[in-house]
Point group: C2
Chain length 421, copies 2
C-alpha cells in the first residue's frame, strides 16, 4: 500500500496566521475545522508537561538493562492503558503496543520509544532533581521518549481528536548495542508486518532528527591455534601475529568520503603471558555507512583482509605442522538507508518544527528507524525535547527547560502523518 | 682472577673402578686420599634423603610470592645456620648467603637455589604426599633446589670434608618472571662483585643442565591517542590500528635458525567498546636468543617496526589534527651468553653425572645463571633430581623416586669445582 500523505495537513495547521496560507485543498479545509482542537491538544501538552516529566522519572526508576526490559515493559503497559490506548499488549519479544484506531485503508503510523537502557542490572537508577535539571541513567535516552508517547496519547484524547490513520504507540526492546534492534525488527518482520506506512522513533532529547540510517556490521574475529611457549615452541604461526596482520590490512582499507563509510577495530584481546604464544587472539570490528552498497563493499574487503592475514601467518612458517584457524562471527547488523531531503515525512517534521520555533538538526544515526528505512518505509527518529547530556553514562542529565516543545513536536508530526477527521 | 679448575678431581673420584683411571696428577693423588671421605659424603646424602625431602616440603609450605620472599628467606637463613654454614646473612635485596670457607686465592663457587615462586600471595602451598609423589605449588621449582643446598652442606660436614675453594650457598630472590633476576644481579654487581669464579644454580628437577643462557628482552608497547566514536570521529589515527601495523611488521621479521632467535607478541589488549576508537592499545613482546649480537639485531629491528607503525598510522590520516604517540617500556632484560660444549665446568658436570649413572640433558634456558654467563664466569644451571611436572602451575608435582642422585650430583660437582684438601 502506498502510504497516504497527510503532511500538508500539518503544514497548513501550523502556519501563522493559518488563514494567510490556505491551499485550495479539501483536506486543508477539513483540517481548519479541526484547528481549534489541535490547538487545544498542543495547549494540553504544554500545560501537563510537569506530569509528563513526573512520568518520565517514574519510568526511569524502573531498571531496564539490555535483554531485561520486562519490568519496565509491564509498567509501561499499565501506563498505556491509563492513557486511554486500546488493545494494549506485549508481543512475543517484549515490545509494548497500544493502539489509537483510525479509519480502514488509511495510514498506519507507529510512534515509538525504546524501553531498554545500556545500564547493567543493579545500576542505581534513582533520579535526582535540581531545579529543572534531572540526573539519572537513562533519563533522556529514552525515558523521555517513552513519557512523551503517553503525553501525546492523552493530549489527543483531551482534545477529542480522531485521526484518519491509525496510530500505534510502541515501547520497543533491544534498541541499544547488543540488543541489535531486535524489538523493531520483530515489529516489521512479524508483529506488524506489511501494515506500517510511517514510523517515528522518539529517541533521546533535544530536536535532533535522523532521516538517514547509519547501517553497521559488527564482527568478532578470533584467530586460534594450540599456543605454546614463546621460546621452545617458536616457529609456529602465532594467533596474535595473525590478528596484527588483519588489523594492519584493515587499517589501510580505502573508503569514500561521500557517502561516509567508516571502519574501526574497537577492541583487541589475546594472550595471558608475555612468554607464551597465545591460543587465541580476537578483535571487535565496527563498520558503518548510510549507503548499503558502500557498506557491503567494505564488508567484502574486510572479509578478504581477515582471510589473507590467516594465510599470510600460516605461510610465514611453512615447516610448521600447526595451522591457525579463524572464526568470524557477525555480532550485529543494522541495515543502512537514506531518504531524500525533501521526502514528505521530512518536510512534515520540519514544518511542525517551524510552527513551534524549533530548528531541527539533521544527523545520520543508528536507531530503531534503521529497520523501516532499509525497507523503504518513510521513517524518522526525532528528539523528545529538553536538553540531554552524557547519554550512556551514569552521569546522564536532562534539563527540562522548554521541554514541552518536544512533546508538541511529536504530537504535531503524528497528526500531520495520520490526518485529522 | 682465572678460576682454578678442579674438575679432574671429580672425574677421577667418580671413575669406576677408581684405580683403573688414575691420571698422573698430584691433585688426583691428593683426591684419592680423600676418596673415602667423598664416598662417605655421597652415602650420607643418600641415607638422609628422606630428611632432605622433609625439608623440601617444610620450605615449600612457606609462601614466597614474587617480590615477597622475606618469610621464606628468614626461615632459610635459620636452616643454613642449622646446617653449619658460617656468616649466614640476608643481603640488601633479600638473598640469603651462607659460607663454607676454603683457602685464600682458591676458587669461590656459588651454589644457589631460588627462593621465589610464581604464585601470588594467598596461594594454598600445602604439600600433599601420595607415596613418592608430592603435590604442591613450587615443590620442584625450586623448593627442591633449596633443600638440596642444605643437604650438600650437611653431607660435607658429616664427612669432615674441607675444600680448597670457598663455597657460598645462596638462596636468591627474583628469579621468576618480573623478578627479572634481581637477586643474582645484585650478587654479581654488588654483594659478591669480582669474587665468584664459578656459579651453579640448582634449579628445578630431573637432570636438566643449562650451559647456554637464553637472553631475553621484554617490552610493553602502548599506542595512545584521544580516542573517540567509531562513526562520528572517524578519520583520525586509531591506536588499535597502529598496534596492528606494528604486530604485522614484527610477524615478518626474519631471524636465523642458528643461533636460535625468537620473537613473540604474547599479549594484546586495547579498547572498551566495539563502537569506540580506543584511547590506548598495548602489547607485551618477548624476544630471546642465546646469542647477544643476534638478540640486539632483532631488538633494533623491533624498535624500528614499532616506530614505523606509528608513522604509518599517523600518515594514513594526513588531514587529522590527532597524532598518536607510542610508549615503549622495557620490562625485562636477561642477558644472553654461550659456553663451549667442552668447557671445563661442563665436563665436570658430565663426569659427575656419569659416575652416578645420570645422563644430563643439555637445554638452553633462562635462569639465574644468565647473569654470570653473560659476564664470562663459568656457570651452569642443573636440575636437583626427582621428577617434576607442571612447574608454574598449581598442579605442580614432584616424584622423589631416585631423587638422592640429584643431591649427589650437586655434591660431586661442587667438590669437583672447589677441590678437596
Amino acid at each position: 500500500m502506498r502510504p497516504t500523505l497527510h503532511a500538508a495537513l500539518a503544514a497548513a495547521l501550523l502556519a501563522t496566521p493559518v488563514a494567510a496560507q490556505i491551499p485550495d485543498d479539501a483536506r486543508v479545509r477539513q483540517a481548519l475545522a479541526y484547528a481549534a482542537r489541535v490547538r487545544q491538544a498542543l495547549a494540553y501538552a504544554a500545560r501537563t508537561e510537569p506530569r509528563t516529566i513526573d512520568e518520565q522519572v517514574a519510568i526511569c526508576e524502573i531498571e531496564a538493562p539490555p535483554f531485561k526490559e520486562a519490568r519496565r515493559a509491564a509498567d509501561f503497559r499499565r501506563r498505556m492503558e491509563a492513557a486511554g490506548l486500546r488493545n494494549v499488549r506485549i508481543d512475543s519479544v517484549g515490545n509494548v503496543i497500544g493502539e489509537r484506531p483510525g479509519e480502514p485503508g488509511q495510514p498506519v503510523i507507529v510512534v515509538s520509544g525504546h524501553l531498554d537502557t545500556v545500564f547493567p542490572e543493579g545500576t542505581d537508577v534513582r533520579v535526582r532533581r535540581e531545579g529543572t535539571l534531572l540526573r539519572g541513567p537513562g533519563i533522556g535516552d529514552d525515558c523521555r521518549g517513552l513519557a512523551v508517547l503517553l503525553a501525546v496519547a492523552r493530549a489527543l484524547d483531551d482534545a477529542q481528536i480522531r485521526t484518519r490513520g491509525t496510530v500505534l504507540f510502541v515501547g520497543t526492546v533491544g534498541e541499544e548495542g547488543a540488543g541489535n534492534l531486535r524489538g523493531v525488527r520483530h515489529l516489521f518482520e512479524t508483529e506488524l508486518r506489511g501494515r506500517v506506512t510511517h514510523f517515528i522513533s522518539v529517541d533521546d532529547t533535544g530536536f535532533e532528527m535522523t532521516k538517514d540510517a547509519v547501517g553497521s556490521y559488527r564482527y568478532r574475529v578470533a584467530y586460534k591455534g594450540p599456543g605454546g611457549h614463546s621460546y621452545s615452541d617458536f616457529g609456529v604461526p602465532n594467533p596474535v601475529h595473525a590478528l596484527g596482520r588483519a588489523i594492519a590490512r584493515i587499517a589501510d582499507l580505502q573508503v569514500p568520503a561521500e557517502p561516509k563509510v567508516t571502519f574501526s577495530v574497537g577492541v583487541v584481546e589475546g594472550g595471558t603471558s608475555v612468554n607464551a604464544i597465545a591460543a587465541e587472539a580476537s578483535m571487535l570490528v565496527d563498520m558503518r555507512s548510510v549507503a548499503p552498497a558502500a557498506l557491503d563493499s567494505l564488508d567484502r574487503r574486510f572479509h578478504a583482509a581477515v582471510r589473507q592475514a590467516l594465510d599470510d601467518e600460516n605461510a610465514r612458517w611453512p615447516a610448521s605442522p600447526v595451522r591457525l584457524t579463524v572464526d568470524v562471527e557477525r555480532t550485529g547488523t543494522r541495515p543502512a538507508g537514506t531518504q531524500p531531503a525533501d521526502a514528505p515525512i521530512v518536510r512534515a517534521a520540519l514544518a511542525a518544527g517551524r510552527r513551534l520555533g524549533i530548528e531541527p538538526h539533521l544527523t545520520p544515526s543508528s536507531t530503531d528507524a534503521n529497520i523501516p528505512i532499509s525497507l523503504g518505509i518513510p521513517s524518522l527518529t526525532i528528539g523528545a525535547g529538553g536538553k540531554g547530556e552524557g547519554a550512556h553514562s551514569l552521569a546522564e542529565t536532562w534539563d527540562s527547560q522548554g521541554s514541552e516543545k518536544g512533546t508538541q513536536w511529536v504530537l504535531l508530526l503524528v497528526l500531520g502523518l495520520a490526518g485529522v477527521r
